[in-house]
Amino acid sequence: MNKGNGIVPGSFRDPSGFLFTEGGVLYRQVNRQYRDNYDALVESGLLEQLTGEGFLVRHDVADIPAPVPETAYLVIRPERVPFISYPYEWSFSQLKDAALATLRVQNAALERGLVLKDASAYNIQFAGGRPVLIDTLSFEAYEEGRPWVAYRQFCQHFLAPLALAALADIRLMQLLRVYIDGVPLDLAAALLPFRSRLRFGLLTHLHLHARSEKHYEVKSVDAMEIRGVTRNALLGLIGSLEKTVTKLRWKAAGTEWAEYYEETNYSSDAMERKKSLVSDYLGRVKPGVVWDLGANTGVFSRIAAEGGALTVSMDNDPACVERNYLDSLECGYGNILPLLVDLANPSPGTGWRNREREPLLSRGPADVALALALVHHLAISNNVPFTKLAGFFSDLCRHLVIEFVPKSDSQVRRLLLSREDVFGEYDREHFEAAFEERFALEAKDEIPGTGRTLYLMRKKEE
């Protein structure tokens, strides 16, 4: 998130306007060329309808000078989304809900004589647990007969990765991290199994779509002249996309950690004690933003969320993130944002000049990071020395709640079963010494019957 002053680096593609920050407040300049469309959005009642239904981020007109006055129509101040996340960090259902929200917005727009001029998954963010369109400038007046210019983008950003996840492999959603404008349709078509062709929606919107793209790749046709999509035809197309997306399903089961709590050897007493300690530590700090690292299905994220913190709940298992998202929705935890993050390889800065999409660590620091039952995975499975771990945590949080898991623990023994034990310094003394360099100890408690220790630490001023 850009906290200083200036134009937001990822906001440059659309000539309708751009985002900028001033005094830590986020604004959007609306350019004169977008004036008629902005006025239509307001006057048609679409703005009021979509913000009222929670599908579009709210904004006020701001009374500040425009940063580029020669092109400016006005400046608006959008409500800030609490945490920016990207489609390659979402679970299957998050991307699916974002896709359906986009189509819902498109339908609502059509009813009022407007249309979405883009369908980028990056225009959707999660706020209060729900997908919200954050780009107020995504609408334009609908012209009878004109095809939907964002159809391909919708298929690349949403339909292709969802189909790949549902019918091929959930890990293929990570292609979004490589392809910033969505998964190329020919690649999706090549990776999808044959049975995907037996579904009308996938046969047409992906396979035939990819083939048509290939066929017309080198033909000189003036695409801007193409007409012939009546309003009813467009509604039929959107309806078909909606049905195709709705039918795509992925069941979160069978991966490594989704059954963790069922299988772990934690006794219920020890678990209760750990929960009360975490709750007590969080109560002392009263954080606004918590990052739960290695959150599994979000048991401890809920403790943070119940204390009122916006809780970004990260795990590298797609099944855990999926269950966390669905359970949080069902139980009304709107302030939990589950995300798919591999801490050994967190989201990098991507896109133009590596600055269009922010790296994970630039989106912090969190007031508190929870690192529960995590250290042994990073230290042993990923060979990260304690000193590097302490440095990593000090980059991303102001307070740290961290659990040390000793070598005698069955979970650590399990990790060491398949490899040579080259971790001579993996013990509590070395752990404490490494972390003391970066953090001041505020509390330390044994978790009875587990051999594990919980710490509350505060980052030392540099």
């Binding site: 593609r13 659309d14 000539p15 309708s16 060329q33 469309n37 001029k117 883009d118 334009e140 007046a141 012209e143 007969g145 004109r146 095809p147 939907w148 210019v149 964002a150 159809y151 391909r152 983008q153 298929c155 047409t204 919107h205 035939l208 779509h209 083939r211 048509s212 793209e213 290939k214 066929h215 017309y216 790749e217 033909k219 046709v221 695409a223 801007m224 002249e225 193409i226 007409r227 012939g228 999509v229 009546t230 009813n232 035809a233 467009l234 509604l235 039929g236 197309l237 309806g239 078909s240």
Partner: protein, 74 residues
């Protein structure tokens, strides 16, 4: 053969449907092949929408008549 069909379908849609030029600015590339398949699909799916609407009206017409008949009968 399939190529020829695709060519033919695309060309006939282009000829029949090139009515007027764009007035608004599309800042993302829509892709020619993508637009053409969209026109083909949307026409099919739109026809289904229209058929559904008329079918609904026909059903409503007959069920209304039936209701009126039974009301008269009482």
């Amino acid at each position: 053969m399939r190529q020829r069909i695709l060519n033919g379908v695309g060309r006939s849609f282009l000829l029949a449907l090139s009515v007027f030029r764009l007035t608004s600015v599309a800042y993302i590339g829509a892709g020619t092949g993508s637009l053409i398949i969209q026109v083909v699909l949307a026409s099919m799916l739109g026809a289904a929408v229209v058929t559904r609407i008329y079918w609904q009206r026909i059903k409503e017409f007959f069920s209304r008549n039936k209701e009126e008949d039974s009301a008269h009968g009482e």
